[in-house]
Amino acid sequence: MVRLTDYVTSGGCACKIGPHILERVLKSVTSVTNERVLADMTGADDAGVYKISDTLALVQTLDFFTPVVNDPVLFGKIAAANALSDVYAMGGTPLTAMNIVGFPISLVEQGVLTDVLNGAASIVAESGAAIVGGHSIENKEPIFGMSVTGQVDPNHIWKNKGAQVGDVLVLTKRIGTGIMNNALKADLFPTGTAQAVASMSTLNRVAAEVAHNFTIHACTDVTGFSLMGHSVEMASASNVTIHIKTYDIPLFDDVIEAAQMGLVPAASYGNRKAITDVQVDANLDGVWTDIFFDPQTSGGLLFSVPATEGADLVKALLDVGVEGATIVGAVESFSGLAVRVTK
């Protein structure tokens, strides 16, 4: 039986190049843009948006990574759900997807790639989009991902920018996939890892559809830069301070124990080095730092909605089976730092 994660050093969004390193690189790269570009990498948004007409814009994104789980079908599902998520995070609908493949020939011959592609296809089918192609190369470490194109009404794009004082923050999936992916490699914590795998392979489609019935001031998906990093991005873009309430953060079972045991991915340490615009209550146990900065793979959506609608949104999400839905914080007027964290 092939153990996909044995082929890689770090998996999922935990294998991302750290934001502080990336920033240094991008600073010295010439930007190529025009007036039809409504969102690109400069705004820290989840996907690029290109205006076609007054009522139609393209949402484009891609994402790929090394295996986070051993089951190839599940790996395909997780990679697809993760790639599609950026379109939902912008308020869009996915239209087409293409496969991005780097694989060792030995694994291809064992049928592993076939399983990965079938797993991804099942999730793309669920999203309503079509798979229209792809590209593959031979590579020592297996990598897989997708490039996704969607559409959005240019007047109703969900951006990082727009969170308003008095809003509450609703998160739609539990936190801890980075830590649980490490636990999975160690064959520990079967309950928590099973929950994390189920969560990672779930599309953000249903959560986004429900949220379209509410007043969404800002939205992002919580991925590699962690709950803290993506909260900072939303707060900075919106010129507000986001207040996260630690004990309200929904966690997979066993996350705290696994973190205490030292199953903390390297990207978590990278995140905390890069993300400094944060004030954390000094009375909190140190393990929470590992959780705040844990890189998420195929994480949930984070909505900023008027406080009057927060509880209703959570209820509507829970009603359709978005089981992680929780209010995790509130938006306050800017008090010097992007995010403050209390118990």
Binding site: S10, A186, F189, D254, Q260, G262, L263, A266, Y269, D290
Partner: protein, 199 residues
């Protein structure tokens, strides 16, 4: 001098979580051994330190060039030879199962519980950890009459940990005034593996 087993885990060149996994394997098989894990990156150093502390080891970290040596020494239970250790911790774990003490009259049980915490603060030998399940979790919340004494125990180094599901059940998760929130996995581990007193 010492007949304690000393083992080395050399995981230089490995990235997380492998150093933790390898160290855990050696620790599981040799619980009484002193283990030195050698790593060559800060992430693994920090993770091995966390692992050591979570397992109750004394953790010492040395560095030689780019290599880190993390020495994990099992906590010795016997009294120290030079008498300057302020507190004598036993390896005992207490599992609190309700917010009154003993069977019979609940009213009496509640009074006994008050006395129990006062005595525990004064006791020479303290447990290493006190777990709280079911209604006993009420005792670690802000409205608890026992909070001050349990806080004193926490300040003295006794680990206080309440069951998260139980706090949820009573709607008290945001009212915790002392210690940490844990889950049934950790509690089960303790019940099976440790020297346990149930109250």
């Amino acid at each position: 001098m010492s007949n304690t087993n000393e083992l080395t885990v050399d995981v230089r060149g490995s990235l997380c979580p492998k150093p933790v996994i390898e160290t855990k394997k050696v620790s599981d098989a040799n619980p009484d051994a002193i283990i030195t894990t050698i790593v060559d990156n800060e992430v693994s150093r920090d993770n091995i330190e966390k692992f050591g502390k979570s397992r109750g080891y004394d953790v010492a970290i040395g560095q030689d060039g780019i290599d880190f040596f993390i020495k994990l020494t099992p906590n010795v239970e016997t009294a120290p030879e030079t008498g300057c250790k302020p507190m004598n911790y036993s390896d005992r774990i207490i599992l609190m199962t309700k917010d009154y003490l003993g069977e019979g009259s609940e009213e009496l049980g509640r009074n006994l519980m008050k006395t129990f915490w006062v005595c525990m603060v004064e006791a020479d030998v303290k447990p290493s950890t006190i777990y709280f399940i079911n209604s006993s979790v009420k005792m670690v919340t802000n409205d608890s009459v026992h909070l001050d004494n349990i806080k004193k125990l926490a300040d003295l180094g006794v680990e206080i940990a309440a069951c998260g599901i139980c706090l949820d059940y009573y709607g008290l998760k945001d009212q915790v005034g002392v210690g940490s929130i844990t889950n049934m996995y950790a509690i089960t581990d303790a019940i099976v593996g440790e020297n346990l007193v149930k109250l």
